[in-house]
């Protein structure tokens, strides 16, 4: 933290890039007394040039590569890539693979939201709310590991399907975990969400009005917390989301508390989706095997999906070679970043952590 005295009551405060909570990201805040009068985000500390590197890798090599920006939501970032690559390569995955993809995507959403909740707890000084979600997250990581083979970086979804079938006994273990976790959600609400201390830090803090959320291009749970009922899984269903019945949690308040509640309710929705998928799934092939080097026809494709933080967008241009000609990734954290300076200006410095992490900004994802 670096402080520059501006004379008078004004002061410039550099939060990050070594701040323990912000990740590798800096925000330059100008204060007038206790109030923030200017906030300038400074991303880029973990910029690795993922888009350029993707031009030097084959379609299959790009899967573990493009997973790196957001490893806690690995399927969230690889699934749209694979869907885009499949349009270029003109392959259609089998039905069972589509369902398994949905299981992985929803497990990853839960894993990512629990990570967010743990950090949000510690941001507000509630260390039990750090320990509990981090511990419960391991159960979902175990489920995902039994499918994908690793704890976080699965590289599991591939063009043409998924790498391997779900193991025997998965359904029973998943249902047992969900049964346990549903009880835990109630305990989370009791100890944290209904806690007057937590509410006094978040209710009415960092209000993002509906029209501003639309104007600024805010996406994902943050948009839904401002009263917009938009979710790519409903708007433009991919995989078999159109065959599943689920609700999108929407809150109209637009404050930090509403953003927390949207994510809490999404945990339940994701479990409900997986339950329905497990019931609908039938035995069958899991991969359409592509022989030889994958080469697409010259052309382009653009695809969006709903990742944990919002809409993930890929635009791939192919010239018929084995490497993509251009890969454009538009990640939700990068689009939500603009909301941060909007929300911080006018608020008190002490409210900064409650606003900052309620947006679930992931610096590595935004920087690519």
């Amino acid at each position: 933290m670096q402080v520059v005295d501006q004379g008078g009551d004004k002061m410039v405060l550099h939060v990050g890039p070594q701040h323990p909570g912000s990740g590798h990201f800096r925000i330059v805040i100008t204060l007038d007394g206790d109030y923030i009068i200017d906030a300038k985000p400074d991303p880029g500390y973990v910029h690795r040039g993922a888009e350029k590197m993707a031009e030097y890798r084959t379609y299959i090599q790009n899967i573990p590569h493009l997973e790196r920006p957001v490893i806690i939501d690995a399927t969230g970032i690889t699934l749209p890539y694979v869907l885009t690559a499949e349009k270029i390569l003109d392959v259609e995955p089998p039905e069972r693979a589509q369902y398994i993809r949905m299981i992985m995507a929803e497990l990853n959403r839960i894993i990512s939201h629990l990570y967010w909740l743990a950090i949000y707890g510690i941001f507000l000084g509630h260390s039990t709310m750090f320990m509990w979600p981090m511990g419960d997250r391991e159960l979902f990581i175990d489920l995902a590991e039994s499918i994908g083979g690793t704890r976080v970086t699965f590289s599991y979804v591939v063009p043409g399907g998924v790498r391997n079938d779900i193991p025997g006994g998965f359904k029973e273990r998943a249902l047992k975990t969900f049964q346990y976790f549903e009880k835990r959600i109630k305990e989370y609400e009791e100890i944290f969400f209904n806690n007057p201390l937590m509410q006094s830090r978040t209710v009415g803090i960092g209000i993002l009005k509906k029209q501003n959320a639309v104007k600024l291009g805010i996406t994902g749970p943050n948009l839904r917390a401002s009263g917009i009922n938009s979710d790519t899984r409903k708007d433009e269903p991919y995989c078999f989301y159109n065959k599943i019945r689920f609700d999108i949690p929407v809150y109209k308040e637009g404050d930090s508390y509403a953003r927390c509640m949207v994510r809490l309710r999404e945990l339940q929705q994701s479990m409900d989706i997986i339950r329905q998928v497990l019931d609908r799934m039938k035995p069958g092939p899991i991969k359409h095997v592509i022989r030889g080097v994958m080469r697409g026809e010259p052309g382009e494709a653009f695809v969006r999906t709903e990742a944990a933080r919002g809409t993930m967008f890929y635009h791939i241009v192919s010239n018929g070679e084995r490497f993509p000609y251009r890969v454009k990734i538009s990640v939700p954290s990068f689009r939500n970043l603009i909301g941060m300076s909007h929300l911080l200006v006018g608020s008190r410095l002490a409210d900064m952590p409650a606003i900052y992490w309620s947006l679930d900004y992931w610096p590595v994802e935004a920087d690519k």
């Binding site: 590197m53 639309v214 454009k328």
Partner: protein, 159 residues
């Protein structure tokens, strides 16, 4: 006209009546509309699309075509407020010469484009005129090479 592209075709028809030959529709697929226009018409076309209800920019980028000596500048617009348009995405494309990489910003039409245009500026060297903060966002401060997403910049050890 396929049954599931009725809304898409109507949208393009409306734009075509307004702009006549100033826009080219490249394809109209279910949920996807790609149109191109000249850099001078871009702003008017963007404004018309915004007025249709496409209120957010989901992505803004560019592609380098060194053989043709031009950049293609791309805007992808979506709608979050009107339910029937939520499934549709507009791709608006224009090309600018590589020796004069300048184009008017669309920041006043879509404020959500702010950081995207900054990213395109540093990665391709394209200047967005009248953008208030045409400065680097993600690249290191001491980057003194050519913009990295141009095709003539090659990764060390890869060529």
């Amino acid at each position: 006209m396929s049954k599931n592209t009725i809304t898409e075709t109507k949208l393009v028809k409306g734009l075509k009546t307004k702009f006549n030959k100033q826009i080219t529709e490249e394809y109209v697929e279910p949920n996807r509309i790609k149109i191109s226009t000249s850099p001078t018409n871009l702003k008017a076309v963007a404004l018309a699309i915004k007025e249709l209800g496409f209120d957010q920019i989901i992505s803004q980028g560019a592609t380098d075509y060194p053989d043709d000596n031009l950049f293609r500048v791309e805007y992808h617009a979506i709608c979050v407020s009107i339910k029937k348009f939520r499934r549709i995405m507009f791709a608006i494309m224009t090309t600018i010469p590589k020796n004069k990489p300048e184009i008017e910003t669309l920041l006043d039409i879509w404020p959500s484009v702010e950081f995207h245009e900054q990213e395109t500026f540093e990665n391709f060297g394209i200047t967005f005129l009248n953008h208030p903060r045409m400065e680097r966002l993600l690249l290191p401060e001491d980057w003194d090479d050519i913009p990295p997403l141009r095709k003539d910049f090659s990764l060390p050890g890869r060529d």
